[in-house]
């Protein structure tokens, strides 16, 4: 079964990949990738009280979401959304776990409501004033492929545009030893029925694990440093404006085959 969707907008934030305009020539291999520390930007779309409460994973998600939507020219509050993250806001979870194991075990109510996996989606809804449906997914190492396939299914089934956002940041200790994520990475695509200004994707789930992709220079290391960075081969093909046939990992025994059509 193959699904086809267009790409109307792209957002990207990762070390050395500071937005699509800066990142595209790097991903296309025209400019070398130079890794630089990434500070998740404060979400100016949110009122100050809400803004202060957002953690790094939510901030990355909101930044790439708005970049992709602005790139698409579509109206943010009219888009259904699919958010995907394997780790969620690890900083909040870790801090709650720490507090639960202190003598009084009391935790902060704000941290508790920020601990939900759909926190990024909730803040997006508040930021743009959206009442459109939104779903938040996990997916472990296959989070990018799982989320992308899900968002594409929504576009095909519903016949309307969907904002897809994938975001992950490193977990704080001690969870970092059990779930290794060493760099932050977030990307967003506005997917539409029919072709989009960045081309199209054909998606087909297939059995069997995905092989490691061919990527230039330090992007190889970034690719394995964050589950969302499994998007890099797709982003590289889009940046180069070249057709490509790619496999991205979904599960130990399943992959997502993608044809990138410029």
């Amino acid at each position: 079964m193959t699904l086809s969707v267009g790409i109307a907008g792209i957002g990207l934030l990762a070390p050395g990949l500071a937005g699509w305009a800066q990142a595209a020539p790097v991903l296309a291999g025209r400019v070398p990738h130079e890794s630089a520390p990434l500070t998740p930007p404060a979400p100016t779309l949110l009122p100050a009280t809400e803004r202060r409460r957002t953690g790094p994973s939510v901030r990355l998600a909101l930044a790439v979401a708005i970049e992709a939507v602005q790139d698409s020219g579509l109206v943010p509050e009219e888009l259904d959304t699919v958010f995907a993250s394997s780790n969620g806001e690890g900083q909040v979870i870790t801090s709650i776990l720490e507090a639960l194991h202190t003598p009084d075990g009391a935790i902060s109510p704000t941290q508790f409501h920020n601990s939900v996996h759909n926190a990024a989606a909730g803040y997006w809804g508040i930021a743009v004033g959206s009442s459109r449906p939104s779903v938040s997914l996990g997916g472990h190492d296959g989070v990018f492929a799982t989320g992308l396939l899900h968002a594409a299914a929504q576009v095909v089934a519903g016949g309307q545009a969907v904002l897809f956002v994938a975001h992950d940041v490193p977990l704080p200790p001690p969870l970092d030893a059990l779930r290794v994520t060493t760099e932050p990475f977030a990307m967003a695509l506005v997917l539409v029925p029919g072709p989009g200004r960045h081309g199209s994707l054909r998606l087909a789930p297939q059995p069997g694990a995905a092989a490691l992709p061919d990527l230039p220079g330090s992007l190889v290391a970034l690719h394995v440093a964050n589950p969302v960075a499994r998007a890099l081969p797709v982003l590289a093909a889009l940046a180069g404006g070249r057709a490509a046939a790619l496999d991205v990992p979904m599960l130990e025994d399943a992959r997502l085959h993608l044809d990138v059509v410029p």
Partner: protein, 396 residues
């Protein structure tokens, strides 16, 4: 959304293990909440604990998945002929055409909580003795169910707080509509853990006794645990009158992270979307199973939202008095409750409610009644402003 038959459905919660036990609890008005006897939890609260799950182990090849959430999921999968029903679906469609879509809010985080409590004072603070990816991680639940049932289709973990289990039904419908699967095992599991009990405690939302949704003097939530699963397939000719997922709808509040919009705009939008997708008018709904958590704010908001669409024409109630609020599993658990209501012709009244809130204008049922129930609207609302409504009933 395509016409979807619910070929099999099962649930295990404090109300009972499997549908027969749930039926007798519902008809006999026997709730499953008990005073909290788990260590390290807030004082003076009641919980919906499923003791029968605690001795269950996953099959040996899947032993690494062992955790409180997996044990409860495994217990639930063994009830009501569910394993055999999925096996038959695999024979009909092929394993690659059966998707797994599971909702959970906290997955097996209880395993991490235990490991955290075992950390040595002078050591490096490392957590040990469990498989994070197969327990704590959100994808652990659908990966377990997929491996346990021998499925090979798409595998999705949904975590939208307390709408997760309902969203699993909606999202599986999307995968089937898009052509990625012919059938889906959907549902959810969430289990008691410190994070959620202390979390709702920090918000001062926990009831001092068993929760009494819609009561005039209701005082909050009782947290419960549950696992519930359904097998959805495209309905065919001859399925008229069979149990089905008739519609599903969702919305976002875009208002606040933990408080619903007081007028219930998001709730109204989700219910309306579910009715639209089912092609139904409010008058065609026979019973509304409320989210009804028992908090002052949720129940008042939900009453306004229901009254906005249904007036006082349709009986509505929350069944969380039996089970507690089972969070990310509640939408799936209450889909099983809806199935029983349809099959048995039952409108269950809220449990333990002497006097419904006199300010409510929807028709709150506080006693059971027998009635023809062909269509149930089931509500789920969650933090982050997530709303989802399902319509479960007899296929036209």
């Amino acid at each position: 959304m395509p016409r979807l038959r619910i070929t099999a459905i099962t649930a295990s919660s404090a109300m009972g293990v499997g549908l027969d036990a749930m039926r007798s609890a519902l008809h006999g008005r026997q709730g499953g909440l008990t005073p909290c006897d788990l260590a390290g939890m807030p004082a003076g609260i009641w919980i919906g604990r499923v003791r029968a799950a605690e001795a269950i182990a996953p099959p040996a090849p899947l032993a690494a998945f062992a955790c409180r959430n997996t044990r409860l999921a495994e217990l639930a999968l063994r009830q009501d002929g569910f394993l055999a029903a999925v096996e038959a679906a695999v024979a009909r469609h092929g394993a690659a055409r059966v998707a797994v879509v599971m909702g959970t809010s906290t997955s097996g985080i209880e395993e991490t909580e235990q490991a955290w409590a075992r950390r040595g004072d002078g050591a490096d603070g490392a957590l040990a003795g469990y498989d994070y990816a197969r327990t704590h991680d959100l994808h652990a639940l659908p990966r377990y169910v997929r491996a346990r049932l021998g499925l090979a289709g798409p595998c999705v973990s949904i975590s939208t707080a307390c709408t997760s289990g309902a969203r699993a039904f909606l999202d599986a419908g999307t995968l089937i509509a898009a052509g990625l699967a012919d059938a889906a095992v959907v549902g959810g599991a969430d289990t008691l853990c410190r994070l959620t009990l202390h979390g709702f405690g920090s918000l001062e939302l926990l009831a001092k006794g068993p929760t009494r949704p819609c009561a005039e003097d209701r005082d909050g939530i009782s947290i419960g645990e549950a696992a519930a699963f359904a097998l959805l397939e495209r309905a065919g000719p001859g399925d008229e009158g069979a149990l089905g997922l008739l519609g599903a709808g969702a919305s976002s509040d875009g208002h606040h992270m933990s408080s619903p919009h007081p007028d219930g705009h998001g709730a109204v939008a989700a219910m309306r979307a579910a009715l639209d997708s089912a092609g139904l008018t409010p008058a065609q709904v026979d019973y509304v199973n409320m989210h009804g958590t028992g908090t002052r704010a949720n129940d008042a908001m939900e009453d306004r939202a229901i009254a906005h669409l249904f007036g006082d024409a349709v009986p509505c109630s929350s069944t969380k008095g039996w089970t507690g609020h089972t969070l990310g599993a509640s939408g799936a658990l209450e889909a099983a409750v809806a199935a029983i209501c349809v099959e048995d012709g039952l409108v269950p009244g809220c449990l333990g409610v002497d006097r419904p809130d006199p300010s409510f204008t929807a028709r709150i049922a506080v006693e059971n009644s027998a009635a023809r129930v062909d269509r149930v609207l089931s509500n789920s609302f969650g933090f982050g402003g997530s709303n989802c409504a399902l319509v479960i009933g007899r296929l036209p």
